[in-house]
């Protein structure tokens, strides 16, 4: 079988994806932080953010994307998001409320507490989803390359 041309050698794919990746990340940030006001939230933003890394990895190769977003950071980030989410819950207990009761997060205004709680919790979801999706892609895409892939 003829060996297919490598993706990074195809100039159209490379140029188009280089133009696409920054707007993808920007859109992911918009979805993340605009989730209170419109459709979207941490989960969708995380998937879109991961899609940006996946696109980069498909076009420029796994080694290149791992230099941008190291596997160690991916693993730490996946845990960090869950910890941030749980940490908000623990913080609300420490401030005298129930687990994940955001009202107590701001002593002056429950509404601001709710906003802060939702922001942090959605951020936790976004970080975990970004890292989990990227990790799954790394491990699936790194399977056929023999030898240490880190």
């Amino acid at each position: 079988m003829k060996k297919p041309m490598r993706m990074r050698e195809m100039i159209i794919l490379r140029v188009v994806s280089m133009g696409l990746i920054p707007p993808i990340f920007l859109f992911a940030l918009y979805v993340q932080f605009h989730g209170d006001f419109g459709p979207g939230g941490g989960f969708q933003a995380g998937v879109i953010f991961a899609a940006g890394f996946v696109l980069y990895g498909i076009i420029f190769g796994l080694t290149a994307v791992k230099r941008v977003f190291p596997p160690r950071a991916v693993e730490v980030g996946a845990a960090l998001g869950v910890l941030l989410y749980g940490g908000v819950g623990v913080a609300s207990i420490n401030l005298g409320g129930n687990f994940l009761d955001y009202n107590v997060l701001n002593s002056h205004s429950p509404a601001h507490g709710q906003h802060l709680g939702i922001l942090l919790v959605e951020l936790g979801v976004g970080i975990t989803v970004t890292c989990a999706m990227t990790a799954i892609f790394y491990y699936f895409a790194g399977r056929h390359t023999s030898g240490p892939h880190r």
Binding site: P39, V47, F140, G142
Partner: protein
């Protein structure tokens, strides 16, 4: 009308995917299938669900299926047509269709799901949580505990993939390296 056309496209595509032997084309059709589903969800005013379907179904899972295809063969092996799976599928489909007969009509305001907490969610998101998007209010605040569980599930999925596909590599490296 638009819904009927989209459902028709979904049906045709599902049959095409099931009959297809070229797995690469099937993976691409799966992506389009998700995109059409997302359009349907948008028509039903479920924009958040449509968003998720488009991002996960059409985006990430297509990439993962392609990644899996690069590890296996591109074409499905020809298998003799067997009667039993066909009968099981038809029976399951008929049972599901029978089950939908008891469901309330689409958009019925008196459907049981709207009687209980929906009014509280719609009013409370405005007056207690002060965010305009009811979906975010329910997911992040009213049902924050559930969402915490879902985030943990995603984390667990990533950990599972890490252990299954790459977890032992470090041990091998340590075993190979001279001490």
């Amino acid at each position: 009308m638009t819904e009927a056309v989209l459902f028709g496209i979904l049906l045709v595509m599902a049959v095409a995917i099931a009959r297809m032997r070229d797995l690469f084309a099937a993976a691409m059709l799966f992506g389009i299938f998700s995109l059409v589903s997302a359009s349907l969800f948008t028509l039903m005013d479920a924009v958040d669900v449509a968003f998720t379907e488009a991002a996960v179904g059409a985006g990430i899972s297509t990439v993962l299926i392609l990644g899996t295809l690069s590890l296996t063969d591109r074409r499905e092996r020809q298998q003799p047509l067997r009667a039993l799976p066909f009968v099981v599928v038809i029976l399951t489909g008929a049972t599901l269709l029978y089950g939908t007969m008891d469901m309330p009509a689409y958009g019925d305001p008196h459907a049981p799901v709207h009687n209980d907490l929906t009014a509280e969610f719609i009013q409370g998101t405005e007056s207690k949580i002060h965010v305009p998007n009811v979906v975010t209010g329910v997911l992040a605040s009213y049902r924050g505990y559930d969402t915490f569980g879902e985030t943990t599930v995603i984390f667990a999925a990533a950990v599972g993939v890490m252990i299954l596909l790459g977890g032992w590599r470090k041990d091998e490296d340590e075993a190979e390296s001279p001490s």
